[in-house]
Symmetry: C2
Subunit: 427 residues, 2 copies
């Protein structure tokens, strides 16, 4: 949690999402979480998040209410081209203005259609007509432009509900404009990425450091899938060098928990592993059973991963384990597919087959079926192999199938970091 | 969009979540989605979802506002044992009542501690003290009981924010009590899953059908990654058979857009493809370049997928394409990795290597780097091969790397559906 800084003028924001999909639980509202987090980072406090239906009267009432409390109102949803999307016309009627064509928006939507080799349709052309009192916010990823309104020193912004379109508009346009408009005080963030230790154990380990943080620096714990992001927020209270003050605290922390820190800054684990491999000219391949290709997928979401990731064999059936991966039938029969012996062979063989420095393998029971009394659901083996050593590790999870797969992927990637010779380990 | 039915007595609900974690985007609000969906299923319309901070004044204002609009107010969060958790004391002060010990709640919390071999602590004992004007809602999974208030023919229920505790209380107590209290009318939902056609083209194609829907049936478009979910909501206005009335509309729709419908009901594309394969005893393997294992990953998130998915070779480097997948070097040199010829060989070879009925392959430039003037970023080839035919298709995307991968995965899975012989195609 971030506490407001009493010395500065706090800007308050509210988020309004429009559409029955969220109300009826057909869509989970991840947009508000993104917007709340991003606004928090530039020092804007969130007062309230409100989800309302596509109902003009209710939308207008929510806008009125939000304006009594907040300086910034971000609205998402209801900008699609179909009849049930009411946001734009409701905003025009709320402000008592008409719609006018925005040429840039029309050019953008025409370009999107051109790229698909099509003529822009009439209903999509209509999307380029915007309330007269707004500035368009460009949407380079979709057909609905955003709208920026300045009313009584308050900012209201309407954006599409499609997450990647909204995110791009926030990052490219809305956040920078808000910073500029309100002349926001300087806030600095430092993020330290940890893995391999739970939130409460971590909190115990760093309690002394946390208690001794300067008053203008706040700490937040942000756990996600076995990783805990530590975020320091520093408020500029007129000290000489906020950056240096914060870096000194990060340096102290690094000495307390070096083994758990995999990156500084907003770096995902696959990205951190990628950076490590790239830096040392190491290559990797994966042999995946229970993770079903998810490690390869996570590694290849990183642009430039072809420099170190060569490929994977997803060996879901035992036949593929034997025929493509060359796991010995004796090993499979004696120890089973979910065993230290099988997973070690998988890791060793994939690195030889794909001629990589490192081979990484998984074999386990993701569930919900397939468990036995010996090997219940969530029993998982992971292995790392390089030219000198093979390291295998047994994991036990008791979560949903999807989470068992995600956790295994994270732990397997972390095994690379843990198993690399000391000299390579810290990037 | 759903409009309220003027002929029946609609019960309106609001959801209020309390806590800074949601406002600051540290936690995604999945609770409201669950509650919204469950309330919708018993015919309660959600008017608004509101997230506020742990601030007594703001909480009380939200309760006042919600009471002007709704008959049911469900509140989650702020029931922990620590000082930041204000919900219970705020509710008591809101109603102007004191707290009294609830014996059953004390027995429940004592039992939870006993199970862990501990004596109940004083702060947890305090959790059994509830506002005098409420009925306790049992929490068998945690230490904070829920609270059920009946005020002026309106129901207010406070529950913990821990998702599994809240869900259990909803299912066991809150939903049945609400149904009984309001004697609720019937609402029905039908979902039709489509892929391969954008929302606006789809809307044009089915405009006549949509315009002619009976007044008590509403349609919503829910697009996601190249797929559009169509949701019909039917309100029982005393007609003979709502289910039959709605099914008749679904049947009409099936005849208008058969080629785009991949499932009826809430079924994902990987699940629908899985069901299709399982039903016809067909097996599949994938050879993935630009999708990097994501098709295998998506297929294997489905429990039971080992019945039809055998494995994958992720051939990220050309060496792996040649050595593991057996793509001819001549093909690669003549046409390049991103070509109809290469992707067709990949699909044909993987099905032979893994001895499956179907081979599915992808090769393309996911971006943001790697594009050429001939083959810009987003140029992607996908191919399907079975014993009788190979079908290759060129795609063009212009999105982020991650989305290019997700879209390619969806289109490749859809290619299976499109390429299967007619007899297999519709499940």
């Amino acid at each position: 949690m971030q506490k407001s800084n009493q010395n500065t003028n706090i800007i308050l924001a509210e988020i309004i999402t429009i559409g029955d999909e969220i109300l009826y639980g057909q869509v989970i509202d991840t947009n508000s979480a993104f917007m709340g987090a991003e606004l928090g980072k530039i020092g804007i406090k969130i007062k309230q998040i409100t989800s309302v239906s596509d109902d003009a009267t209710h939308i207008k009432k929510s806008l009125d209410d939000a304006r009594t409390r907040a300086d910034v109102i971000l609205i998402t949803g209801g900008l699609g081209p179909t009849k049930d999307d009411l946001t734009k016309t409701t905003l025009a009627s709320y402000f008592g203005v008409g719609l006018k064509l925005d040429e840039q928006s029309l050019a953008d939507v025409t370009e999107i259609f051109r790229r698909h080799g099509r003529e822009v349709t009439e209903i999509n052309r209509q999307q380029a007509f915007l309330p007269e009192n707004c500035q368009a916010v460009r949407n380079v990823l979709g057909t609905a432009p955003g709208m920026w309104f300045e009313v009584d020193n308050k900012i209201m912004v309407s954006m599409p509900g499609v997450p990647f379109e909204m995110k791009r508009m926030m990052t490219d346009t809305v956040l920078p404009r808000l910073q500029q408009y309100f002349g926001l005080p300087k806030i600095n963030h430092k993020v330290i990425m940890t893995i391999g230790i739970g939130e409460s154990f971590l909190a115990e380990k760093i309690a002394d450091w946390e208690d001794n943080l300067p008053k203008n620096i706040k700490l937040a714990y942000l756990p996600n899938l076995g990783s805990v992001r530590l975020r320091l927020t520093g408020f500029d209270t007129g000290i000489d060098d906020l950056e240096a003050q914060m870096q000194a605290e990060v340096d102290k922390l690094s000495k307390i928990i070096p083994e758990y820190i995999f990156a500084y800054g907003e770096v995902s684990l696959p990205e951190a592993i990628g950076n490590l491999l790239k830096k040392h000219y190491l290559t990797i391949s994966t042999a995946e059973s229970c993770t079903g290709g998810n490690i390869a997928h996570k590694l290849t979401t990183i642009s430039g991963s072809s420099a170190y990731f060569k490929g994977s064999i997803v060996a879901y059936s035992n036949a593929v384990k034997v025929e493509q991966l060359g796991v010995s039938e004796t090993t499979l029969e004696t120890f089973g597919a979910v065993s230290e012996e099988t997973v070690s062979e998988m890791a060793q063989n994939i690195r030889q087959l794909m001629k990589t420095d490192i081979g990484l393998a998984t074999s386990g029971i993701a569930g919900p079926t397939g468990g036995t009394s010996d090997k219940p659901v969530g029993t998982i083996w992971i292995a790392y192999a390089d030219a000198h050593q093979t390291v295998a590790k047994k994991l036990n999870f008791n979560r949903t199938r999807e989470l068992n797969i995600e956790y295994t992927t994270m732990f397997a990637l972390n095994l690379v970091r843990q198993s690399l010779p000391e000299a390579f380990r810290n990037g």
